[in-house]
Symmetry: C2
Subunit: 113 residues, 2 copies
DNA sequence: GGCTCATGCCAACTATTATTGGCATGAGCA
DNA sequence: TGCTCATGCCAATAATAGTTGGCATGAGCC
């Protein structure tokens, strides 16, 4: 996971920059779990947890797959994806060169100064 | 910079997770600069740049100091702080243990399920 | 004095993200 | 059938973050 684009880098960083998601990830690092179970473990609502799980999944930090329990219930198990990201000023400098101009853009400043 | 608390980790991640701040940091990695100059280089307003610089400074990613130019003008120079942060699931798991319960909290879920 | 350039800061607005509650579905089980 | 448990999703609100423009200050310079 050494060479991600600036956009991907930001996605990953933004995803990790949240207490909830960090806790979710930590919980899953300790072993997989299905949604409702995880919500109970962490003491947060399912709706909230799902939003965070989706963001984590989108960033590629967790993966999900359905599984049938012994009694036939469909459970959605999530598990953490291993990753390794070494951040340094140089890594940042390189990533910036591949940034799409979203959230920025204006090649012509509005006239300050 | 291997052992930061969960709160600090989140602060750093959140600070880096922005195209503007990433660009600012990259620009400063290439050499120090004072505010107005940097704003022109990046093509953004000073007001905007200052906000981002403050956030970067708060997170310890850049430092600032006043300096007098040859003609006596007070210039505020910023420079990038070297850092190295190796992110892995385990690092996250450890960081989580030192998270203050802000933005989370509710030991008792509201009653979902 | 009047012009330029640098800094700092605020009030106001817009855009995003976070969070809650509720509702609907599908499948075992007594 | 009625109850439980799991999933998914949406509409509405709350809370943050991002941006802009303007205004004030201080210091050289013509």
């Amino acid at each position: 996971m050494g060479e991600l684009s600036g956009d991907r880098l930001i996605e990953v960083l933004a995803t990790l920059a949240s207490p909830h998601r960090l806790r979710v990830l930590a919980a899953l690092t300790g072993g997989r779990a299905y949604v409702s179970q995880l919500a109970r473990d962490l003491g947060i609502s399912r709706a909230l947890l799902q939003v965070h799980l989706k963001k984590l999944e989108k960033a590629g930090l967790v993966t999900a797959h359905l599984e049938l329990s012994e009694d036939g219930k469909a459970l959605k198990y999530y598990e953490a994806t291993p990753f390794s990201l070494h951040l340094t000023p140089d890594v940042v400098a390189v990533a910036v060169t591949t940034l799409s101009n979203a959230g920025d853009g204006d090649a012509v400043p509005k006239g300050n100064n």
